[in-house]
Symmetry: none
Subunit: 206 residues, 2 copies
DNA sequence: CGATAGTCAGTGGCTGAGCCACCTGACAAC
DNA sequence: GTTGTCAGGTGGCTCAGCCACTGACTATCG
């Protein structure tokens, strides 16, 4: 038993370095500002002053972001935001899914769907109403999930859902499914993230 | 034709930064010295002097090696050589994760954790008690999740968690985190899948 | 004798000021 | 129009130094 944390001992508690936090913070900043590929970040001196850290530390944070492919730093120019890898790595991984037990894939997609539902519940209120307000017609699985996906926006979860959908398709129409979908839509409309996620439990027959 | 490399034009010739060369050089040094996992590199001050560079630059080189997983730098201890990844179970798409906005990865991992928690809540009752019964000590994020993972068993979700963990690490210890972990463990012990999943919402600070 | 608390040397983390190399864009000279 | 020059802004790197953390050693206490 080499490094068994041994229920008997407290975990080591490793503190994050300042430049790591900075890197995360700047990454969030890129997101918040809506910067896209090619856009320039403020100069190091200015960023350092605004964030209240030394230029050396800020520079390390940028270097970290660069080795992770998030930005590109050019001498004499500045730090440029990099377009995320165009070719999705997910498809390659998708191929191996066919060989897995169906139950595993079902459980995984249910988790992803729950995450999407939760995210959708946090979307703008008017958008939620526009996409999901009841109109008296029966909800279909595919249509409902298209709406939820629109609300949740693009992201890792959406890509995972695409990859998993091929091997864990949605259920056929049935009274029970319609009930679930109504409950799901209702929870998302109310903005109740927890309830929305819970509704997905067993949605695929897992 | 914006930036046609056009055999007619010379390549831009981007110079390697000093700290990049240093990183490569040190990596070779590890190889040449036959250092293995756990071995310590010479202290920064000494290495910097021997290599004829400033300590700041050498430190950046070590940081670069660390983000690439070659070494592990510990405050107050030194730079330790890391054993290369034991199992190759790392899906190809994991590499692309680094370039994604942090928020996306965080949300995705939260969804995966919720799925794992839900699965764990359905595990055998005696196993749940064995792994998660409170013992009066503070729970750490990593240890608690190891237990949940054991309960949930291997599967797609577990692999996704592994892949995501590197880019969306768990939170540092704090009172709020401990409360969440207690609530999570309690829900899993009760076999309450929905509650267990809900507890994961925002667990990573998303 | 064993366990505990205090001490201390060695290590990485971070700072601040400063100089240098590099890139760009504007402008003058041709 | 083309070319050469130059100034301003940007990141790369250095130096010297202080601080925080770790681990081992050493008293001290029961």
């Amino acid at each position: 038993m080499p490094d068994e944390p041994s229920a008997r001992r407290l975990a080591p508690l490793r503190r994050e370095r300042l430049y790591e936090s900075l890197a995360a913070h700047i990454s969030d900043f890129i997101e918040a500002q809506g910067l896209v590929g090619g856009d320039r970040l403020p100069p190091e001196r200015q960023l350092a002053a605004e964030l209240g850290v030394s230029r050396a530390t800020l520079s390390r944070a940028l270097a970290a972001l660069e080795t992770r492919g998030r930005i590109e730093v050019r001498h004499g120019v500045g730090a440029l935001v990099r377009e995320p890898e165009p070719a999705g790595g997910v498809p390659a991984w998708e191929a191996g899914l066919a060989a897995r037990p169906r139950a595993e894939v079902l459980v995984a997609r249910e988790a992803v769907l729950a995450g999407l539902a939760r995210t959708a519940a946090g979307a703008d209120s008017s958008m939620r109403v526009a996409m999901l307000a009841p109109d008296g017609r029966q909800r279909s699985f595919d249509h409902t999930w298209r709406c939820v996906r629109r609300l949740a926006g693009d992201g890792l979860l959406a890509e995972l859902d695409d990859a998993l959908a091929g091997h864990a398709p949605g259920p056929a129409d049935s009274a029970e499914v319609h009930e679930r979908l109504d409950a799901l839509a209702d929870a998302v409309l109310r903005g109740d993230a927890a309830a929305a996620a819970t509704t997905c439990q067993g949605m695929l027959g897992g």
